[in-house]
Amino acid sequence: MMDAGEKRSLRRGDTVANVAKPDAERAGSQERRGTTPDSRRAASLLVVCPAFNESESVAAVVAELRSAVPHADVLVVDDGSTDATALVAERAGARILQLSFNVGVGGALRAGLLLGHREGYAAIVQCDADGQHRASEIPALVDALSSADIVIGERWTTAGYVVRGPRRWAMRLLAGVFSRVHGTRLTDVTSGFRAFGPAAVEVLSRELPPEYLGDTIEALVIARAYSLRVVQVPVQMRERLAGAPSHRPVRAALYLARSVTVLFLSMLRLVGRRRRLPGMPA
């Protein structure tokens, strides 16, 4: 899977600061397009936007990312869209991964992490393609990677962001469980605005389960199994540019039930032997 140049030891404690730009020695070209991705010098930051039928909002999101974090590469993962999401995003200047069929946020994220891992990015930020996340908050997320492997953008400080009923209970339960599991305050574990350091990218590009809630709940369980450090940073959200979140009670109740089920089943991963990163001493 990895060639010799890419094979470097990743361990708990590797940070953006001390992971030297790994592809520097085999950097052949500065061109963004026209060369094979592996041969070009990787920017240190990759922003991954999983997108499913987001042609209305994706161009604005990409444009915002490019102006707010000009040193980053923007990658839109088109998760089997039936509209022109990929074309629109490419015209806006993003790199595109096109999945042949819809695999969900977790699967799309994993594809983006895999690309980031292969090309040796020092940090990857996950950001929604619907415009609810502010690109200007990305530097704060990336900065926090200096003392963590996964940084979660926590949304509760956003004025007017209120969640009620079963969905709120589910979020509170998850917050309580994961705060205890990771030994740090985690109040918004289902946020889709996150930053991943190289150790987390290595593990999650391999193990993230491509199924419902796999990208949030199970990702944090896997992080614990590999002793990855997780922290949260407050972020301000924006009203979605297109589409609306569902607040229907039945769906919310279903969400609670599914979260609890996934939570307890995925906790089984923590039973038994501790996993090690490839570079970790035995």
């Binding site: 991705p37 088109d78 089997g80 991964l97 042949s100 994993r110 690309l115 491509p210």
Partner: protein
């Protein structure tokens, strides 16, 4: 041989022959076929020599041998179902991996298509 033995043996023969036919046509992998062949042969054995079933059932405390048969059959089918779920999970994981690899290759090739698929 009693009439029930004949029916049982015919049923087992049907299972075994269809499994063999599926392997010959390349529509069933030997890995999964082996399981069904073992089950088919076991059913045939019980049909031809019902005494084995009676003796086993009695020694395990079943008063009606048929109940033992139903119980064993149910447990067996549940295990087969779990085995298939495991196989499906692995297959889905491979499909997902391949979708990712294809996406990465397409990215290298250049321009995206208007519609994916």
């Amino acid at each position: 041989m009693s009439r029930t033995s004949v029916v049982g043996a015919l049923g087992a023969l049907l299972v075994v022959s269809s499994v063999v036919r599926l392997i010959m046509r390349g529509r069933l992998r030997v890995q999964y076929a082996a399981l069904w062949l073992v089950i088919g042969v076991a059913v045939a054995g019980i049909a031809v020599v019902p005494g084995v079933l009676d003796a086993t059932a009695t020694s395990l405390g079943f008063t009606v041998p048929a109940n033992f048969l139903f119980f064993a059959g149910l447990v067996l089918l549940l295990l087969v179902g779990i085995h298939l779920s495991v196989a499906l999970t692995r297959a889905e994981d491979h499909v997902q991996r391949l979708a990712e690899e294809v996406a990465l290759l397409r990215e290298r090739m250049g321009r995206p298509d208007r519609h994916s698929g």
